[in-house]
Amino acid sequence: GQQVMQIPQYQHVQEGEDFTTYCNSSTTLSNIQWYKQRPGGHPVFLIQLVKSGEVKKQKRLTFQFGEAKKNSSLHITATQTTDVGTYFCAGRPTGGGNKLTFGTGTQLKVEL
């Protein structure tokens, strides 16, 4: 079945440093979504990317969808303590279907 892996699994940064998480799918995706889950919380939708090579920005967050639509990345510039949480990518396979397969997640910790 479809596998979605993320690296790194954990990342510790000092506040103000940048952070990037990478997402790789074993199959081509029709779209990729990114979610943030605070400790003890539920996944919260951040963004969806649909087009090959698409780049979207939300303030300090930059999301990219690979040309082959099998990988994606999330980059945070100048991290803040409010960025703490686990970031999951989630992909829907090409050919449709309702199933959203979540990646393994990257847990971000930000220290002052």
């Binding site: 979504q33 539920h42 919260v44 939708f45 969806q48 999951f88 397969t101 979540f102």
Partner: protein
Amino acid sequence: EPEVTQTPSHQVTQMGQEVILRCVPISNHLYFYWYRQILGQKVEFLVSFYNNEISEKSEIFDDQFSVERPDGSNFTLKIRSTKLEDSAMYFCASRTTGVSGNTIYFGEGSWLTVV
């Protein structure tokens, strides 16, 4: 902002007992989901539900699991005979259709502990 609500927030049950987790999806949404997350692990798809029937399910969703939409607002997940490995956070989620239906809204989860 509309939200998906889930009850109970936490349930402790004995192994072998039946459990029903309840969800009220956002009112105009048409697709409903159950996901689960074992502590410290990723979010795993269990089942999707549309037009009063299961549209997709994962290998985790075996005969011990069932879903139901008993009325116009509730969406339930039943685990017939719980096992220790069913201990997890269970998230209900919903979305609408069309372009705006790409966003899936998750509830705050029901934490199930099987002892």
